[in-house]
């Protein structure tokens, strides 16, 4: 499967908490945490296991304006960080 067709879901172990427009995600397994700004938080929330990376880019483009392709780098980077933290998993796993 091409990377743009991949789908991701939240790890059941992830602890997330809102703080104003931002969010903090904590992974108990690694004792690491990440702060998400408004954009990163939107990407996290769109990773619901049903949307592909392409879908997420398109959804964000509708919300914030611009072309989906222009958002691809930011989406990939955010997903990569969240996967490294262990709080985002491939939907198929």
């Amino acid at each position: 499967m091409h990377i743009e067709e991949q789908r991701f879901r939240h790890s059941p172990n992830a602890v997330s908490s809102e703080v104003l427009d931002e969010m903090v995600i904590y992974c108990p397994a690694t004792s690491q945490a990440l702060s998400l700004n408004e954009s990163a938080r939107a990407i996290w929330e769109l990773c619901d296991g049903t949307r592909s990376v392409n879908d997420i880019c398109a959804e964000l483009a509708r919300t914030v304006g611009g072309e989906p392709a222009d958002l691809r780098g930011d989406v990939d980077a955010a997903i990569s960080r969240l996967r490294d933290l262990g709080v985002l998993l491939p939907a198929s796993s």
Binding site: V15, S17, V19, E22, Y26, A33, S35, L36, N37
Partner: protein, 293 residues
């Protein structure tokens, strides 16, 4: 040695206390030096732990409940380990509070929380604020009531690192010895104080001037987590509490070479906050002003 040879004192926090037993007056002399304001010869409140220190020819050994004793050679280090063990007992029974490695001081009924890793100016900044007439809450351990948005007094005796004027690299500061800070007993806060600002301190000897930067709420939560004293089982719950707190209290990072600059900045910010609240009060309650007139 018989049971009656042991003396007992209690480290007290709010409605709990930890019993500390030793047969050595030297142990209590050391404890008094670090935690005199929190020690009582009588039990106050519910006992939540029991610690025993035995002094022998090889040094001191600490027994925590039924655990095997830990051998510690130097009394000063043993005292700190003892205090940390006592603190863990208190944290275990007060998981409703957020426990941070932080200093806290108050002025005009509002408190600032100063978070930093060791040797980053926490105690020195608290000391500078005390010299400017502020009240003392803590210079190392700060228990926070998140619902009330306040910090409770945890008045271990304040100490700060002293430098003889030698130019230091950052890592050198950890090797500086600590000295007690003179503290007027009337300047120790007796009750919880509402938190007005949270500062994350960074001592940087190379800094030319103080650098103050607004800290985003989510980043502030990460900083709080890095300074948390929570036991592992309390980790999950504390994140929600930290987010709740940081949604209400502004946070800044301060980078400085001289703690006097940090204290001056904090004082100015607090002055502005007090002025703003007075102004807001006047507008929120105009009828009170009319009646008084």
């Amino acid at each position: 040695m018989g049971r009656n040879d042991f003396q007992e004192a209690y480290l007290c926090f709010e409605r709990h206390c930890v019993a500390i037993r030793s047969e050595s007056p030297e142990v209590f002399a050391f404890l008094n030096r670090f935690a005199g304001r929190m020690l009582s010869p009588e039990r106050k409140g519910k006992k939540c732990g029991s610690l025993k220190i035995v002094a022998n020819g090889e040094g001191w050994s600490l027994r925590d409940g039924e655990e095997d004793p830990r051998q510690v050679m130097r009394p000063q280090l043993a005292t700190r380990i003892l205090l940390h063990a006592a603190m863990k007992c208190v944290i275990r029974v007060r998981q409703d509070l957020l426990w941070l490695h932080a200093g806290a001081a108050a002025y005009g009924g509002r408190a600032v929380l100063l978070c930093a890793h060791s040797a980053n100016g926490k105690s020195s900044t608290v000391s500078e604020l005390l010299e400017r007439g502020w009240s003392y809450l803590s210079d190392e351990i700060a228990p926070l009531d998140v619902i009330g948005g306040s910090v409770l007094p945890f008045p271990l005796n304040p100490h700060k690192r002293v430098n003889d004027g030698t130019t230091l690299e950052h890592d050198d500061a950890l090797r500086l010895s600590k000295v007690a800070v003179d503290l007027d007993v009337n300047r120790v806060a007796a009750h919880a104080v509402r938190i007005a600002h949270i500062y994350f301190l960074s001592w940087a000897p190379e800094a030319v001037q103080l650098e103050a930067e607004r800290c985003s709420p989510s980043r502030a939560v990460l900083e709080l987590m890095a300074n948390s004293l929570a036991l592992d089982e309390g980790r999950r719950g504390e994140i929600g509490n930290m987010c709740l707190l940081m949604g209400r209290v502004p946070a800044m990072t301060l980078r400085f070479a001289d703690p006097r600059d940090a204290a001056q900045h904090i004082r100015e910010q607090m002055g502005a906050a007090v002025r703003d609240s007075t102004h807001a009060l006047a507008h929120e309650h105009p009828t009170v002003a009319i009646q008084q007139a």
